[in-house]
Symmetry: C2
Subunit: 560 residues, 2 copies
């Protein structure tokens, strides 16, 4: 990061240099009268980079070429490298034009110290994924040593963002949920893919983006996988599940798309990666990532910890293979090579098939051969201690590092988008707002309102709310003195999907009404029947149409 030396404002050095140089190129194009390449406004809006205004100033051709070359490799500059760019191109703080400090490193992880000595550093985790990989060996064991299996986790992560912004979208403490699904790299098909293959998806493949377009491709996931747009069935299966999850909790399907990572934004090890992006007032926002991360994470953990993170799979039929091998007589080698014997042996055992065959031919034809060992010396090989033979090998199992498909959910971003998609105003009265959370996610599923404060309603209120709780329906009694219309209205705004009213007919006939938040339609029936219908609606076993068949329509008048 660099600091504006006068105001103390802080910028990410790499982003600032990039933005300033891009602005100069743009200004140069304007000055030359060349139409600038149209910019994806949405993408621009959600970019992390500081915006820098361009001014129409023509640059030397050589300067343009140099800037273009710098920008093409901007991610490769370290602190001193960025400093030399800042000096060379006389980059100042945007807006103020003040001088900038030298770039200093800034760790995006929050640090603390553990224990009383203050000498043990600790960090708040910047992502939850590592916890999965650390537990991989145990999970594999739990799954009887077989893949596929998956682990799932939800928890907080922390990143010390230089400038948190956009409400809940970029914050320093956030909740993530993640699945790591481990698969055999040679078998990325999915047992349940058949069940979802006709599911239509709205995709934005990388080719479309490369062409500077944002047209969505509506395609079944089955076709997307078979046409190679989505890399494999398992990845495709999870894209469908993510889509179904998001729409089930109330995300507007017309404001949801899956954008594929372009080659330059995807991690080098990833086989394929798609982001579920949701359109909200900040633009298309990445809310769920779904990547095929290949064997990268397990390999890195394995290398660092020195513990094997692999699956051994028994082969249906043992693999039979003939291979050339060197058979060594160590008793002869010992006295012959003395302390070099070991290095000669290791060198020979590390030779590949072709080299062994060559040595075999030389031994046969010339009676000797030689190898250069790791110590740089050349050693002569003679038939008294080395024989080159063909042998048959039978392997009953294979060993592989599983690949991992990782759907990763930004819970705060999903929740924020959900609130935006759910909040609307009634046509007749714009002051009457509704939060249309589906029953599955509404914190309170059913409102219970007495018509008035009449004492006769109390036992019924208690009874109904007790029965609803027993049925697992989270409910709430609103017995405040506000009018019934007002009470409905404010609970509509709180997102409560259903409402039951206890009135004089309830006391007399044991009936109550059921109101649907979104349509304000009302039904009426015996209390227990209404509760059963609410339970069915909350568990998504029936819809309102079916509820209307099971209960009578209610027009506001009750047979008394």
């Amino acid at each position: 990061m660099v600091k504006d030396l006068k105001t103390g404002d802080i910028f990410r050095a790499d982003h600032l240099v990039e933005a300033v140089l891009e602005a100069r190129l743009k200004g140069d194009k304007e000055a030359r009268g060349v139409a600038a390449v149209p910019v994806d406004a949405e993408k621009e809006a959600k970019s992390k980079k500081k915006k820098v205004k361009s001014t129409a100033v023509k640059l030397e051709d050589s300067v343009v070429a140099e800037i273009e070359s710098v920008l093409a490799q901007i991610d490769n500059y370290d602190g001193p490298g960025l400093q030399s760019l800042i000096e060379k191109f006389e980059i100042k703080a945007p807006e103020t034009g003040n001088d900038l400090s030298k770039p200093v490193e800034f760790n995006l992880m929050f640090d603390s110290s553990i224990g009383p000595t203050g000498q043990v550093k600790g960090y708040l985790r910047p992502e939850t994924a590592q916890g999965h990989f650390i537990n991989f060996a145990r999970l594999l064991d739990f799954n009887n040593g077989k893949v596929p299996f998956a682990s799932a986790q939800i928890g907080k992560s922390f990143r010390n963002e230089i400038s948190p912004r956009q409400g809940l979208l970029r914050v320093r403490e956030f909740v993530m949920a993640e699945i790591e699904h481990y698969v055999d790299p040679t078998k990325k098909n999915h047992a349940k893919f058949e069940d979802v293959k006709d599911q239509k998806m709205r995709l934005l493949p990388k080719e479309t983006q490369s062409a500077g377009k944002t047209d969505l491709l509506e395609i079944s996931i089955g076709d997307a996988v078979s046409q190679g747009i989505v890399d494999n069935e398992t990845l495709g299966y999870f894209l469908v599940r993510i889509s179904l999850f998001l729409t089930k909790i109330g995300i507007d399907p017309s404001r949801l798309r899956f954008r594929q990572h372009m080659a330059n934004e995807m991690a080098h090890y990833a086989a394929d990666c798609w982001d579920a992006e949701i359109l909200n007032s900040f633009g298309w926002t990445e809310c769920v990532g779904c990547a095929d991360r290949s064997a990268y994470d397990l390999t890195v953990h394995s290398v660092r910890t020195g513990s094997k993170l692999v699956v051994r799979e028994a082969l249906d039929e043992p693999k039979i293979e003939e291979r050339t091998v060197a058979v060594l007589d160590k008793k002869t080698m010992g006295p012959k090579f003395k302390k070099s014997a070991k290095i000669v042996e290791e060198t020979i055992l590390a030779l590949d098939q072709e080299r062994l065959n060559c040595i075999g031919r030389e031994l046969e034809q010339k009676g000797e051969s030689d190898v250069q060992a790791a110590d740089g010396e050349k050693y002569v090989l003679t038939p008294d201690f080395i024989k080159i033979e063909r042998k048959v090998f039978k392997e009953a199992s294979r060993e592989f590092t599983p690949n991992v498909i990782e759907p990763s959910f930004g819970i705060g971003r999903i929740l924020y988008s959900l609130l935006e998609h759910s909040y609307w105003a009634r046509e007749k009265d714009a002051d009457r707002r509704v939060l249309s959370l589906p029953p599955a996610v509404a914190p309170i599923k059913c409102l219970i309102v007495p018509l008035s404060g009449n004492e006769g309603f109390r036992p019924l209120l208690r009874d109904v709310s007790k029965k609803m709780r027993s049925a697992g329906i989270s409910c709430r009694v609103d017995d405040s003195s506000a009018s019934i219309g007002k009470r409905y209205a404010r609970n509509d705004e709180l997102g409560t999907p259903f409402g039951c009213t206890i009135d004089f007919a309830s006391v007399k006939n044991g009936t109550m009404t059921l109101r649907d938040r979104d349509t304000t339609e009302q039904l009426i029936g015996k209390m227990d029947d209404v509760i059963a219908v609410v339970e069915g609606l909350c568990n998504a076993e029936i819809d309102w149409q079916e509820a209307s068949r099971r209960l009578d329509a209610y027009s506001g008048e009750q047979a008394m």
Copy 2:
């Protein structure tokens, strides 16, 4: 904290001084041949204090008196105070006898810095409770301005313990769950107390402890409250709920007790406080606290933030009261007192009833009176601008700060104790271990095992596991090649309460067996019937006895 100057070992200074002085008193008693007061060994074992061995050394009577006086107020010493005690009593590091460093303050909260400047300090929360109080005003509003209501939360807390120990019992990062139940301080009865009043509790009241005993009082919560052992119904209600919760998840009731805080360990503001203590291999361990914290937290938050955290309650009958008031004529006061007018007015309005009555009498008798204002000046009061009158006031509402009853759960400690209470070995074979987690908390409710790897079982396995998942039963297929006995045994050890076996009779007759983990008893029935029984068992709607009525007994032989 203080440091052993040679080894670098670190101690809590207050605990160390206390432990050393207590050991000296004990040694003195031994030297004098006085039987030491029997110590609650369990309590001792779980004390946070460093253990210090006593040696029989007789002390001067004056020294004994001084040490006793110091110990009585040990919590009141600050750093320099502790330093002077260390010097005066020549306290050294226990075990090594080395000199100690001066006490330095040690913050038990983990700190970090927020944002890029490094100048904004942040701390990891040491408890979750404050989040409730910060949200109190909003929650009250959501509850239509009325108490009682409660908020509940679960989350991580962090304390930089000097020496974490005892496995999961004292750790630096832990999960807490908390309820804050807000009540009217004049109405601490509870609407559902009647439902639980006969529940028997195992209590260790403070009086028993003061007498140096640990005998448990078995008493119904109704009697405990009516006899004043437990302060109020709401507190009692939550004690019952805690007890029911713990025993329902599998805590052994005979290793559960509720210990009341003694006067000296209870926070000064608390009305009453009980800990649910569970006996495990580390002794009786505090796992849930349940305190009536009175109005303390809300009052402190209110004072610090300047926002009112109170409930306004409409009175059933308005309160009518006659009060003496001063009626001021500000038009006269202005010219008379000039810029002192305001302070005179404020002084008069702050006077109490008695003083006002007195002024009234003086004005009547002498035609004048006087007051001393906050500026130290005395001002003469005359009837031209002040009249003392009796007025009738009618108050339609009262305002109060709710009290809070706080059950607070240490999830890690409960889980650790639960594992200890659940783990046992079969009588016939001590190598066969069982983890008797009740279905409610077992991560996997039902094991599904095929008799062998026979291909004919596959469709049935898929079918049964799909139906179980639809019924909300978390299940797992163990189709490894181990013998069926071995597969049952290892899943017993994993805590899976039920097991279903698919065998040739399943293919032929559509039956499967159901096995109970704890008794190893087996039943048999049509697959759908067995699934329905498992569902009933998992939801605690039926017990094994009822299951045995609905399904046939299975002896290991099947009618083929």
